[in-house]
Subunit: 346 residues, 2 copies
C-alpha cells in the first residue's frame, strides 16, 4: 500500500489557498450516486442480497451473538455509539468503530488503513479474538457451510461449484456495503449547484471550513482526502501539534496508530484521515471515542492540526456546515437468515 | 394470574380421545391473521413504527450494545440459536430465549409465565442485570428521553403531553410484537380446509401427534394450549415422568421453573407449555437449550410426558408435521433510529 501524506497535502493546501473564491463552486465534490466496485467483484443484486444476510448473521462469531451489524449499525450511523466496541463475551476493543456508511468510497480501511479494500476488511473482525472471536477464517466458512440454506444464495451470486468460500463471503459483504451510501445530503445538492440547499450559516461554515485549512486533509466527496486509487491510503500525523492541551486531555498519543500495523516508527501517531459524513449519527468521536460533540471535535482539530484557536462563532458555523453532510439513508428491507440445524455454539 | 393445569388438560385429552376421527378437520386451528390487542393498547401503525425502533435500539441497555433484537432475532426464528442468551458485558443467562414470533397469541409470557402480557414482558429484560443491565426502568426511560429524536414518534403514537414514558415504551414494543406473527403456514392452509397443503407423511404425522397424546397440551393455534384469557397461563409439570432417562441426560430438573417465580413448592418443575411454531428456526430446544434436534425433542417429550417410546417412523412423521408450522415470515423494512447527541455509555 502506498503512502500519500505531506506532499499531497501541500499540493492540495496550495490549491485551496490559491482559489478561495472558487471554493463554493469548484472544489466541493458531491458523493457519486453509485459506489465504485473492483473489476473482480462487480456489484450485483444477488451478491448484495447474500452480503446483507451475512452482514446481519451473528453465527459468524464464536459466541453466536456478534455480527457485522452489532458494531456497524446500519439502522443508525453505521457504528455503535460507544467509545470503543464490545465483541464476543464482553471483550472491549481498542478503537472507535468506524462508520460503514460510505466506507465504499474510501481508498483504505480501518483507522490505520491496514486493509486496502472492503473485501480485505470484511475478513478482519470474524477472526479477531476481541471482535467476533473465531479461531480462524476456516472456522468462519465452516459455520456458513453448516447452514445449508446459504448454499443456493451463494450459487445465485457466484455460480455453480465450490462457491461457499471465505473469499465469496467477503465479496458478498463488500457488495452489500457498496449499497450503504448517502448521496443527496443537503451538502451534495449544494455541491451539484443548488445554491438554496444550504442556509446562510451553513455556507459561511463551509467557507470557514476551507479558509481555516480543514480542507487540507478533509476534502473530496467523503471529506477523507482526495480520491486515490484503491489501496492508496491518505494518512496524516495526528496530533501534528502535540503541545495542544487537548492532546493530554483526551489521551491522543497512547495509541500509536498506523505504526501498530506497520511496526515502522515513521508511522507513529499517523492515521488514515477519517471521513466527515453523518457525524450527527456517530458520536463519540476520534479513534478512542473520547470526544462527545462535533463542536469539541472541531476545536480539537483546529488546535492539534492547525495550531489555531477558533472563535465560538466559527465553531458554530463549521458545525452547521458539517451537519449538512447527513443522510439521507436508503430504506432497506430486513434480510431473512436461513435456519441452523442443531446449534453452532462454542 | 390464574393457574390452569390438570383439570383443563384432562378435559382436552378426553375431547381428543373421544373424537380421533374428527382430528384432521375439527380441532385443528389456524393462526388468526391478526393478533389480539388489549383494550388499552390497540395496535396502530404509529405505535408499531415506534415499537420497532425501540425493539432494535441497543441504547436501552447499559453497555449500549444489547437490544430486544439481540436475543430475539426477527430476521430468523425470533430467538438467538444459543442454549441460553448472552446479555451485557458477556453475562450468560439461565434459560433459552423464547421466540418472539407469535408470542402475541400467548396468554402468558416467559418460560415460567411470570408476565401476563407483552407489555409486562417488555419491561423485564431492560432492568435485568444479566440481559440489558440497566439499574431500573427510570434509567431506561432516561436513555430514551436523552435521544430527542424519539419524542415526535411518541407524540405521533400516543398524543401530546408527557408521553415519553416507560409504559408507552412497553406499549409500543408490544404493538410491534403483535405484527410478528406467521399465519399461512402449510399447516394453517390445511387447517383452513386445503387438504392438499400437507403431504401424506405430514398428515400422518399430524394424526400421530394427536393420537399419542401431544395435543393434550400442545393444542390451539400456537400449540401452546387452549386459547385462554390474557394472564391465564397454561402450565404443565415437566418432566411428568421423572424416571425417564432423558431427565438426567439433559439436566431437566435443576431449574425449578415456575417455582422460581412464585416461590411455591407446588410450582416446582412446572412450566408454561411452549408453542411449537417455527421450530425449524429455533434450535436448540427446551428451557435450558440442551436439545439440538426436533426429533430428539419429540422422543424426549413422549418419554417424559407420556411415558411412551415412539418408533423411528412415528418420530419422523411427527417431525414432518411440525415442520409444516414454519413461516411464512412477513417482509419488514428496517427502522431508522434517531441519533444520540454525545454518547450514552456506562
Amino acid at each position: 500500500m502506498r503512502l500519500v501524506t505531506i506532499t499531497a497535502i501541500i499540493l492540495v493546501s496550495t490549491l485551496f489557498a490559491a482559489t478561495p473564491a472558487a471554493a463554493a463552486s469548484g472544489p466541493w465534490q458531491a458523493l457519486p450516486d453509485v459506489a465504485p466496485a473492483p473489476a473482480d467483484n462487480p456489484t450485483t443484486a444477488d451478491k448484495v442480497e447474500l452480503g446483507k444476510m451475512l452482514y446481519f448473521d451473528p453465527r459468524l462469531s464464536s459466541s453466536g451473538n456478534v455480527s457485522c451489524f452489532s458494531c456497524h449499525n446500519v439502522m443508525e450511523g453505521g457504528d455503535d455509539h460507544r467509545p470503543t466496541s464490545i465483541g464476543v463475551h464482553g471483550h472491549v476493543g481498542g478503537r472507535n468503530a468506524p462508520s460503514v456508511w460510505n466506507a465504499a468510497f474510501l481508498s483504505s480501511q480501518f483507522w490505520d488503513g491496514r486493509a486496502a479494500t472492503l473485501e480485505d476488511q470484511a475478513k478482519g473482525p470474524p477472526a479477531n479474538a476481541i471482535e467476533m472471536g473465531m479461531p480462524n477464517l476456516d472456522a468462519v466458512i465452516g459455520r456458513v457451510r453448516n447452514i445449508p440454506g446459504y448454499k443456493p444464495y451463494f450459487e445465485k451470486a457466484f455460480g455453480a461449484g465450490e462457491v461457499v468460500t471465505m473469499d465469496n463471503v467477503a465479496k458478498a459483504i463488500a457488495a452489500y456495503e457498496r449499497t450503504l451510501i448517502t448521496p443527496n445530503s443537503a451538502y451534495d445538492k449544494y455541491a451539484k449547484g443548488d445554491a438554496q440547499a444550504l442556509t446562510e450559516q451553513q455556507v459561511r461554515g463551509l467557507n470557514t471550513f476551507a479558509d481555516v485549512g480543514c480542507t487540507s486533509c478533509h476534502q473530496g466527496p467523503t471529506f477523507s482526502g482526495p480520491p486515490l486509487p484503491v489501496g492508496t491510503g491518505f494518512f496524516m500525523k495526528f496530533p501534528t501539534f502535540p503541545d495542544s492541551p487537548y492532546v493530554t486531555k483526551y489521551d491522543f498519543l497512547s495509541d500509536t496508530g498506523r505504526a501498530s500495523a506497520t511496526k515502522d516508527d515513521a508511522d507513529k501517531n499517523v492515521w488514515r484521515v477519517p471521513g466527515l459524513r453523518n457525524l450527527v449519527y456517530t458520536a463519540p468521536y476520534f479513534h478512542n471515542g473520547q470526544v462527545h460533540t462535533i463542536g469539541e471535535a472541531v476545536r480539537i482539530m483546529a488546535s492539534t492540526q492547525l495550531n489555531q484557536s477558533l472563535s465560538d462563532a466559527q465553531v458554530a458555523d463549521i458545525v452547521a456546515f458539517l451537519e449538512t453532510l447527513s443522510g439521507p439513508f436508503p430504506t432497506q428491507q430486513m434480510p431473512r437468515l436461513p435456519p441452523t440445524p442443531g446449534d453452532l455454539i462454542d
